[in-house]
Amino acid sequence: MIGTRDQPCYPAGRPGATVAKIELRGADIASTEDLEKAVVTGVDWAVRAGEFWVISGSTWSGKSRLLETAAGLTPPIRGEYLLFGQPLAKLPTDTAAALRRRVGLVFPDGGRLFPRLTVAQNIGLPICYHRECTLDAAAPRVAQLLAEMGLVTYANWSPMRLNRSYRQRIALARALAMEPEVLLLDNPFSGLDVGHFAWWLEFLGALLSGHPLLGGKQISVVVATDDVRPWRSVANRFATIKDSRWMLLDATSDTAPGGNPGFS
């Protein structure tokens, strides 16, 4: 089921709500250049099961850093960060790593693939690493992912031979390889051919409602974008970053998705 847009916005930590998969409380997000300087301030945000978030903001507004923080790669400067209800910074390294594996992150602009590996090896790498198996043993899962992404023909190609639209799909397949419970996508439409938009929207919508690729499990999706318009049909939660401030948007408001708050 694709989420509806009539759900009210609620602040993080709402009493009675299910445990959030990702939660930031009063968090300030560190800048890439200076880890002590906040690029986004006052983030109160919770991602729960079945939610499809779209976070808008102009270029350099800090969307990517917010996603990296949400994925547990960078700690916030201030405030609390909870992953599946647990404070990541206080956990032992192995426990924290195991929790982080339950979150998939797709980077923008071609997905930061490994150019020395083939397409199949790129997708199989996290499976082989975490499940201690050979690529042959991981082949059925890799083949399944390749088939869903329409990449079977290119399995043994170097990703660098493919255009950015297909590289982005490889990155998506790689992020889904470990069957994450939350999928974070950083500007997935950046540099994509327009013809691929519909495929992405349909696929992500299916992920939200329980795709066979993930055993029918319903996952949460977060998309950071500078243009909200393509996402209006599938997303059910909206937020924006404006002047370094985090703002939750009422999904029922016309100004939220349609008004393209990232540029307002």
Binding site: L73, G111, R112, F114, L125, T134, A175
Partner: protein, 283 residues
């Protein structure tokens, strides 16, 4: 006031300030930079060794092929160059030694000279030079490019420890390669030296030459040779990986970082070699 004093004694502030004009200050600045780099490389080496130990049995199906590839590239891939250098060294050392010793009638010292010069000094350091120039350079460029293009963050996002995946195989591979190539270079040099002596019609039969070498060798030579090889390999791997990975860089900085890595590796290898020389003198 106190803040100003803190800034004054902060090493980073000192190193970032404009280059002083006097030569002694320039040398001082250079030494401070070197010490700071060595400190950072040391910290990076400890982290990498820690990961190597704690992750020893983890992800073997991924890491073992990487180690094998690294050994093939750093070791087997360098055999032709090392063979060429072994021949050249054998001819040069024996040529000079024979000419010198013949004048004073001390042919029986050829074996001792060969062991001292080739086994203890030239073998490991020349091999380290080959691995540094041919593998170390490529490693810095490869890792620097990977870092600049965000592959390290991609590994972290997949829950893969970048040090385990990128550094550990290189450390094991290069240490193994330098030890094995040193042994190969030494054997090659001794053989080519013997052949050259024979061709020069020197009154030294191959059996006597071999006997002199065997008598000059001590068991400590084998231990120290292996230790030296491991140390050189680890230094080259750690320094090149450190410069490639340790801090965020832009693609345009890769060439500068490569030069720094080569220079730092070379200096550290020479310093370690000097430390081993002291050990030899104490033996």
């Amino acid at each position: 006031m106190l803040e100003g004093v803190r800034k004054l004694v902060n090493l980073d502030t000192v190193l970032d300030s404009p280059l002083p004009r006097s030569y002694t200050n320039f040398v001082g600045r250079w030494l401070l930079n070197l010490v700071e780099t060595v400190r950072q490389v040391g910290a990076f080496a400890l982290i990498s060794l820690g990961v190597m130990v704690t992750h020893w049995n983890r992800a073997k199906t991924v890491i073992h092929p990487l180690i094998a590839n690294q050994i093939a590239w750093s070791g087997i891939g360098q055999l032709p160059m090392v063979t060429f250098l072994a021949c050249a060294l054998g001819f040069a050392v024996i040529g000079q030694t024979v000419a010198l010793l013949s004048r004073v009638g001390a042919h029986d010292l050829i074996g001792v000279v060969m062991v001292t010069v080739v086994v203890r000094e030239l073998g490991p350091i020349v091999t380290a030079g080959v691995v540094l120039l041919r593998v170390g350079t490529a490693t810095v460029i490869e890792l620097g490019t990977a870092r600049a293009s965000g592959e390290v963050e991609a590994l972290e996002a997949l829950g893969i420890d970048p040090v385990h995946y990128l550094v550990v195989p290189r450390m094991i591979g290069m240490a193994t390669a330098v030890v094995c190539l040193s042994a190969y270079l030494i054997v090659g040099t001794l053989c080519s030296g013997g052949l050259f002596a024979f061709l020069q019609d020197v009154p030294l039969v191959p059996g006597e030459y071999l006997k002199q070498i065997v008598l000059a060798l001590r068991w400590e030579d084998f231990v120290l040779l292996a230790l030296k090889g491991v140390m050189f390999g680890l230094i080259i791997a750690t320094v090149t990986c450190f410069h490639g990975l340790a801090r965020p860089i832009q693609l345009t900085e890769v060439s500068v970082v490569t030069t720094h890595a080569l220079l730092t590796s070379l200096i550290l290898c020479v310093l370690v070699d000097a430390a081993f020389l002291v050990v030899y003198l104490l033996m």
